[in-house]
């Protein structure tokens, strides 16, 4: 599909989405007066909006995501519904918030500056039922990244924002300011200091300021993992995007954000 066709699809599906939303609202209002009319309206509107969203994602979003990724990486794969092995999120100790429901998508594999890279969007929720209602709280939403690196450590080192963890004692570095902002966990104090050089600690602080959100980092054996709780899902489409250029610009912002953080961390490892 060329750009002109894509723009037409965007306009048409956005129009459908808008109509769907209007029908849902009208349906809810109508339901209060005439349920037999209001209910079908709301249902039709709901499915119309969902169908338009899915069409946009499948016909436009995935195509443009691949185009944008092609501008950043020579060789990559993109799976819109794919993600890491679910057990990875439990196995890699990143001091992520507790959750009991996980969803992820937009799985990318690529090589970036000689580092093998994997990225996905991660959404963690805590769901509980108090007997009457089910409550869902999103405890983490943002990108989760794995990057290969070649520092020689034997035990993982986790760096997380200052959160109280009952069973773990944080390792104190020689920087009081770093210690006040982050907790460092590792079974090996030596490996923690090996990875967290003064240069690296500056980078982590800078990355945290850049990200402006909670950042979770795990230096594992051969792999760096980091996750940013920026309450944002990458490569998503919304009605404010009126054209191919709007969408590509937003997708590029998503990638620039992730790669800026990654660049800082990789620089700290050099």
């Amino acid at each position: 599909m060329n750009e002109k066709n894509l723009n037409e699809v965007i306009k048409s599906e956005n129009r459908k989405r808008l109509i769907g939303i209007i029908l849902v609202v009208a349906g809810f209002i109508g339901f209060m007066f005439t349920p037999i009319v209001g209910a079908p309206l709301a249902i039709i509107g709901f499915f119309l909006a969902i169908s338009a969203t899915n069409n946009l994602k499948n016909k436009v979003g995935n195509t443009l995501a691949r185009e944008v990724l092609g501008e950043y990486f020579d060789d990559f794969t993109y799976e819109p519904e794919g993600y890491f092995n679910e057990h990875l999120f439990d196995d890699v100790d990143m001091a992520l918030p507790g959750y009991n429901r996980l969803s992820a998508n937009d799985f990318i594999t690529a090589t970036y500056k000689d580092h093998k890279l994997k990225i996905c969007d991660l959404n963690l929720e805590e769901v509980y039922n108090d007997g009457k209602h089910t409550h869902t709280t999103t405890v983490f939403q943002g990108p989760f990244i794995e990057a290969a690196y070649d520092k020689d450590i034997k035990t993982p080192v986790t760096v997380a924002k200052d959160k109280f963890t009952l069973f773990k004692k944080s390792i104190d570095t020689e920087s009081e300011e770093f210690n006040s902002r982050f907790n460092v966990y590792s079974d090996s104090e030596h490996d923690a200091f090996f990875i967290l050089t003064p240069h690296m600690m500056e980078r982590i602080a800078k990355v945290n300021d850049l990200a402006g959100d909670d950042i979770f980092i795990n230096f594992n054996v051969g792999k760096l993992y980091f996750a940013i709780d920026n309450h944002h899902n990458n490569f998503e489409l919304d009605m404010s995007q009126k054209s191919v250029d709007d969408i590509k610009q937003d997708f590029k912002k998503d990638m620039d954000y992730i790669l800026e953080v990654l660049d800082e961390l990789l620089e700290g490892l050099d």
Binding site: D152, D172, T173, E174, S175, E177, F178, R181, E189, H190, D191, F193, F194, T197, P198, M201, E202, A205, K206
Partner: protein, 177 residues
């Protein structure tokens, strides 16, 4: 009756404090010994790499290597000062070897030499980490034995010395956040 219970509670608290404080000193002393051991291991690795590098360099420029090759003392149980001296001696020899390599392009581009350079860099990074761990634990120990009321139990424990970096390489590390 209540007075007896109150006294028992106070005694219990004091005993618990005595045990935990004494154990804290011992724990810090063990951590310092472990950190010192890590320094020795890192120095040994660096020494091995340097010895091999010297052998490789002799194959290209025996006379020149003889001018800066020195006997480096490294053995278990050395004092901190002697370890630091060995560290400095190794740094000097390494500088000499690298300077020599600049004059001998075949040596500099030799695969074995490059591999040994990477190995030494790795050993130095581990040595740097071991030094920092050691000094960090010494700071914690020296602070613990002077803080009141723990200082009452410090008894004959004296402050431990830091592992000083090479004077030539000594520079302020300014961290900007």
């Amino acid at each position: 009756m209540y007075i007896v219970i109150a006294i028992a509670v106070v005694v219990l608290v004091v005993v618990v404090w005595l045990i935990s404080t004494t154990n804290k000193f011992k724990r810090l002393e063990i951590k310092i010994d472990e950190a010192r051991s890590d320094i020795e291991v890192a120095l040994e690795k660096r020494y091995d790499m340097l010895t091999k590098m010297l052998d490789v360099a002799k194959g290209y420029a025996k006379h020149e290597t003889d001018t800066f090759a020195k006997v480096i003392n490294l053995r278990k149980g050395m004092s901190l000062k002697d370890l630091a001296q060995s560290d400095n001696d190794m740094s000097e020899m390494q500088s000499g070897l690298l300077a020599l390599a600049e004059s001998y392009p075949e040596l500099k581009s030799s695969e074995v030499f490059i591999e040994l350079q990477d190995g030494i860099r790795d050993a130095e990074e581990h040595l740097q980490a071991a030094r920092r761990v050691y000094n960090s634990n010494v700071t914690a120990y020296n602070t613990a034995i002077v803080m009141f009321p723990a200082s009452l139990l410090a008894g004959g424990r004296g402050a431990k010395d830091f592992y000083e970096a090479d004077e030539k390489k000594h520079e302020d590390v300014k961290m900007q956040f």
